[in-house]
Amino acid sequence: MAEFLRDPQNSEISGTNGIGEAEEPIQGHAIVDPPNNHLYSEVLREFTDWYFSVSPEDFDEELLDAYLEEMDNLSPMEGSFDSQASLEKFHERFPSLFDIQKELYNPDVPQSPESKRHRHFRRLIVIAATIAAMIATMISAQAFGIDVFGFFAKWTDDIFFFEDGPEMLEKSEGHPFPEGEVIQFETIEDALAAFRIEEPLAPKSYPNGITTLNVTGCVTPHGIDIYAFSDDDEIAFKISFSEFLAQDGPISVIEKDEEKTWSYTKGTHVHYIVVDDGLCTATWLVNNIQCIISGFITQDEMIKIIDSIYEVV
């Protein structure tokens, strides 16, 4: 074993935090006893001098082993590395780096009043936009004729119909005529009175040229069915009042073309108006009765007819 010079100067294995003094090693070497620390430094210096000066042909492996053994005796390596402990030591050695990161991402760190206001404002905008969108969809749904609180009016480019609806509807109590019997009436008012329908359903104004109507009423398994037609071919005016069962809802499908569907509210009723190649049809619901008026008339004439239903004479 070669003798080693002892040099207390310098320690090659310890580092600094770049700010102050050299500190203890982070990893790899246990803290040596103070007397051996200097001795270790001497041996290390000798070793590095020899290692970087020796030529390949003079390289002595035994000397290398001796150096390493001596250094290990003076500063033994730990049996195993504790990575977590090493990381903690690293954090302790360079605290300034981690403090900066904590400040950037720590929600507990007080924010400036201005950034707080911005965050609140952005949040309010998101909530307001969501509520506005929800209301807009409801309004547009209503504009499209979808009664979001009752039966749903639906339509395509070709047809109009009602779907779904409230579970409970006012049910008509019996009928004055047996099921299947067909009765003729003079006027719509007579038919409504005979079937004990008290709601205002009969128009008081008709298109020019309509003087008489053929009114018929009957009782079907679904209930009352009253229908009235004009004799003329030009306007082909028709009114019908059909009772429906609550579980089925109004089941009539009305033909229409690709023109838009209008909704006209009079009183508490929403009347839907569609056109099918010149044939104007209005339909609405009164309790469990689907009302339909149709004829080759204009939309304004249809609205006039609807208005007259609710006129108080």
Partner: protein, 144 residues
């Protein structure tokens, strides 16, 4: 937390937007040049099942207006599946087709099995001097 709130809000908005556009039910299929409105339904009394249909034409006069064909379907498993039950054609049942008017009410009955469900495809029909048209109407199911 904020990201979750934002995601939940957007999801609710998307659901509301989609729900405002309702889809067409399976009741009817296409437009008609002959018919103004039509409907059909089934009823049951003591196991006897009846099909009622109403067809209204655009004009006041049609040589033929009513139902040309009624297909009946039956379910024995609470409506999970339906199988073909029977067919009624106006050629065999003249009461299915009216003539000379604008409005037709049709009613046919058949014996059903109590507890089974039935539904029908009703072909509403109208014919004038030049042509004719037929539209299928699918009824809801009822339990006999």
């Amino acid at each position: 937390m904020r990201k979750r709130l934002k995601k939940a809000t957007l999801l609710i908005f998307a659901i509301c937007l989609l729900s405002s556009f309702s889809s067409v039910s399976a009741a009817v299929m296409r437009s008609s040049d002959y018919m103004q409105s039509y409907s059909a339904y089934l009823t049951s009394k003591g196991g006897q099942v009846s099909v009622y249909a109403t067809v209204t034409g655009r004009n006041n006069y049609y040589p033929k207006i009513g139902t040309s064909t009624i297909l009946i379907y039956e379910s024995t498993n609470n409506g999970k599946t339906f199988s073909y039950y029977g067919i009624y054609e106006s050629e065999d049942y003249p009461s299915m087709m009216g003539s000379g008017g604008r409005y037709s009410q049709v009613a046919i009955s058949f014996p059903g099995t109590r507890g089974n469900q039935y539904k029908a495809t009703v072909y509403c029909y109208a014919e004038d001097n030049t042509s004719s048209e037929e539209i299928a109407y699918y009824t809801s199911a009822i339990t006999a």
